[in-house]
Amino acid sequence: MSGIAFDIAHLLAGGLVLVSFMMIYQDRLYALLNVFALHAVVLAAAVAWQAHIQAAEHLYLTAAIALVFKAIVIPGALHRIIRRLGIHRTVEQVVGSGLTMLAGMGLVALSVVLMLGITANSDAIAREDLAFALSVVLLGLLMMVTRRNAVSQVVGFMSLENGLILAAAGARGMPLVVEISVAFSVLIAFIVIGIFLFRIRERFDTVDVVALDNFRGERR
């Protein structure tokens, strides 16, 4: 394994974690979507680099799927949804972004410690990839937890999915059919969630999930 290949893989995976952090402190939905598109672009680059150094052609397809769907189609569609719902100015976070960033750092530290501990005798690239992928997954989860708006929760879910794809690309020998089915499941999840957003909006005039909670007769 040449040093430069490892360094670039490391750079791209680390970049993905960095973009995840950028998503956490975005206040506006449009900005959030742009950062999410950037996230998908970095993911596509990381996967393509893995395809290059592993000489696995089918990973190029994965990278292409990530680029087309996650960087272009889904952010574009979400843009349209936001415009049609007229919620482009609303953002509300449950806890302040500073605190969320601190929690995110803790999660990254945890996943690095954990992954480096338990994969001590495997391939260096796979180790780094897995540690970063777990960080991305945890950060996506953190984003879902700390946002109140349904659209930002969808974005959190999608970025979590990106972490899974990064992990899958790092682990050698994942069959193509699994990647394609993951890609399709993401697409279907996106469609279902999109439809749900409109249904929620029709019924409650908002996509703030607090309205759902109020509807169930609960107090916060």
Binding site: V113, M144, D213, E218
Partner: protein
């Protein structure tokens, strides 16, 4: 032979399916019961052949888990219990041909009945943990369905619910026990479990789990609470089968694991088992003494007999752990013999109670009385059962309890001081239980069958039909035969005892005049034939003398009414009055019985009242507090149902991070 037994079990299951296909109504109930009695002949014949000297046989069926299959094996121990199931099942089936005609909801009983017998047969045949547990659970569920036959009554529903909970709990304990037995490699075949070696701690844990699993099915205190509710709730032929046979299947499960599969056990678990059995016996019979419902009384008495059997098994374990094989063989023989005897007389008594229920529609003792005039055959047969269960010579109950006490008398030979003290103490408890059993059944028979009728229903009772009487006669003659010729039964049990303790009783049939000599002639002998002849001659001679010289002519006069000239039958001794002395002596502590007398002052016309309140201490202290704990925890956790989406996500994330942290710290 094992093929014959398996085929019979299969045909019983098919019979159930056929009954379902035919609608299971009253039209086919006689046919189904008749066929199921016939199908019981198969396992019986197979068991007799094995005890007659045919070597153990195995059979692997290509069903069940892949790569494992279902293993069946028929050895001497299985054969003993196979015969027991066959006799009990056949008798209950024949009885049900008649009893089923009066059934209000036959379609809820007929389809489950044959399969229940078939499942019990398969439990004793199973030779790997998987098939054992599956058959065990099928047996539990089918019996639960049978208990629930008269589901409109709320007490039946609550009894069935309690039974279901206890059965699930017991199966869980058995599942864990077999998991421990199989070890990390998952060797679930009994042959692999038998050869594996395991440390003492694992063996003791297995024994404790099996005690919970089998004990909850058999009715060992404190897991007995479901039994006096569920056994009476079922139709009487099912009660006979559950009390007489299914509890024996649980005893089989315990013997199979404790004596065969788990290997050597340390001696210090036997006193626990012994005291558990003895206190179960006393607790069961004390409750039976107080019960007013005939079938409930019989169910409590089942608990007593199970206690006796488990005490004998504990004694056998104590002897075996010390390498004293001959006394161990004696105690195990006593346990197996008592299990067989209990099947005969408890089935007989439940059938008698069912006959009374058919004839009068009542089973409360205070509504019966005088049945000996109305139902003479049932009364005589019940008298045989009552005498046998009270352990009176020359019937079979005496023979097995005598053997048990003979083995208790061998306890001074044990090397441990603790056992030397505890075994005679347990013997004292068992003797108390035996005496109380006699009192309880004198009460049952005296109040229920003798005296004057306490209700119109009892006065107008009619003798039941032939099928029921034939089944009861068969079991009654078994009680008499096994009582007079116990030597034959003991010799038949010898191969099974030999298989488990590597020793056996000396051959008893070889002794002259059918004398029983369990240890040595100088020590103790029992000649049932002689006792029988003595009782018969002395009783007929005194009856003759009394009628010849005491009362020359037959006179009819009013029955003695304790000096009260009131003609109402309510002035007779009742069930509660009969129980009062023992309730006052023993019940005040164990049952927390208290009496209040409400005596109106002179001039007040309202009647005086005498009230008795009793508490089931185990139920109130143990079960109700567990139930309260479960309700408390569920009420706390109920809040989890109504959280917001974000909080659910946070819970998911929190648990994920927590698990990751645990992994990180662990590394």
């Amino acid at each position: 032979m094992v093929e014959l037994a398996a085929l019979s079990a299969l045909s019983l299951v098919m019979l159930s399916l056929g009954a379902v296909a035919w609608g299971g109504g009253a039209r086919i109930s006689g046919l189904v019961y008749g066929l199921s009695a016939l199908a019981c002949l198969g396992p019986g014949a197979a068991g007799i052949a094995i005890l007659g000297g045919v070597p153990p046989q195995m059979l692997t069926l290509p069903v069940g888990l892949p790569w494992i299959g279902a293993h069946l094996r028929l050895d001497a121990l299985s054969a003993v219990f196979l015969i027991l199931i066959a006799i009990g099942g056949a008798a209950a089936s024949v009885y049900a041909i008649g009893y089923g005609r009066h059934e209000s909801a036959p379609e809820r009983v007929v389809p489950f009945f044959p399969a229940f017998i078939g499942a019990m047969t398969l439990v004793v045949l199973a030779d790997d943990a998987f098939s054992f547990l599956v058959c065990w659970e099928v047996m539990s569920l089918l019996s639960w369905a049978l208990v629930l036959a008269h589901h409109r009554a709320p007490e039946v529903r609550s009894a069935a619910y309690l039974y279901l909970v206890m059965a699930a709990f017991g199966t869980m304990a058995l599942l864990l026990a077999f998991g421990l037995l199989a070890g990390g490699n998952g060797a679930y075949a009994f042959s692999a479990i038998r050869t594996a070696s395991r440390p003492d701690s694992v063996a003791v844990a297995v024994l404790a789990l099996v005690l919970v699993g089998a004990g909850s099915k058999a009715g060992l205190a404190p897991l007995h609470v479901w039994l006096p509710q569920a056994h009476p709730a079922a139709p009487s032929h099912v009660s006979a089968l559950m009390s007489g046979v299914m509890t024996k299947v649980a005893v089989y499960a315990f013997i199979r694991v404790a004596f065969d599969l788990v290997g050597p056990l340390p001696w210090w678990i036997s006193p626990a088992l012994l005291m558990l059995g003895a206190s179960t016996a006393v607790l069961g019979i004390l409750n039976a003494m107080m019960a007013d419902d005939m079938k409930r009384l019989l169910a409590y008495s089942t608990i007593e007999n199970i206690g006796v059997i488990f005490a004998a098994l504990g004694l056998a374990l104590a002897f075996r752990a010390n390498g004293m094989t001959a006394p161990a063989a004696l105690a195990l023989t006593a346990a197996l013999f008592h299990a067989f005897n209990h099947m005969t007389f408890k089935s007989l008594l439940f059938m008698g109670a069912g006959a009374v229920l058919t004839a009068t529609g009542r089973r409360d003792l205070d509504g019966l009385g005088g049945l000996i005039h109305r139902m003479p055959v049932t009364s005589v047969l019940t008298l045989i059962g009552v005498t046998a269960i009270s352990a009176l010579p020359p019937l079979n109950g005496f023979a097995s309890e005598w053997l048990l006490f003979q083995s208790i008398l061998l306890s001074p030979g044990l090397p441990q001081l603790g056992l030397q003290i505890i075994v005679p103490a347990a013997g004292g408890l068992l003797a108390l239980a035996a005496a109380l059993a006699a009192a309880a059944f004198v009460r049952l028979y005296g109040v229920g069958f003798l005296g004057r009728s306490r209700s119109d229903a009892a006065r107008d009772a009619r003798e039941v039909d032939r099928c029921m009487l034939v089944a009861m006669t068969g079991l009654g003659s078994l009680c008499v035969l096994a009582g007079i010729v116990p030597a034959f039964v003991l010799d038949a049990l010898a191969p099974a005892v030999d298989q488990l303790t590597a020793n056996r009783l000396p051959q008893q049939m070889a002794e002259p005049w059918l004398t029983l000599i369990p240890v040595a002639e100088a020590r103790s002998t029992y000649n049932p034939l002689l006792v029988f002849a003595f009782i018969a001659i002395a009783a007929s001679a005194s009856a003759l003398a009394m009628h010849r010289f005491g009362s020359r002519a037959l006179r009819r006069g009013p029955a003695w009414d304790c000096g009260f000239p009131e003609p109402s039958p309510a002035t007779q001794y009742g069930a509660a009055s009969f129980a009062q002395p023992i309730r006052r002596v023993l019940g005040s502590q164990i049952l927390r019985a208290s009496e209040t007398v409400d005596m109106p002052p002179p001039g007040d016309p309202r009647p005086a009242r005498h009230r008795v309140t009793m508490h089931d201490v185990i139920w109130e202290r143990l079960y109700l507090s567990v139930a309260r704990g479960v309700v408390y925890v569920s009420a706390r956790l109920n809040g989890l149902q109504f959280l917001t989406i974000r909080v659910y996500l946070s819970l998911v994330m929190g648990s994920l991070v927590g698990l990751l942290l645990a992994v990180a710290l662990w590394h």
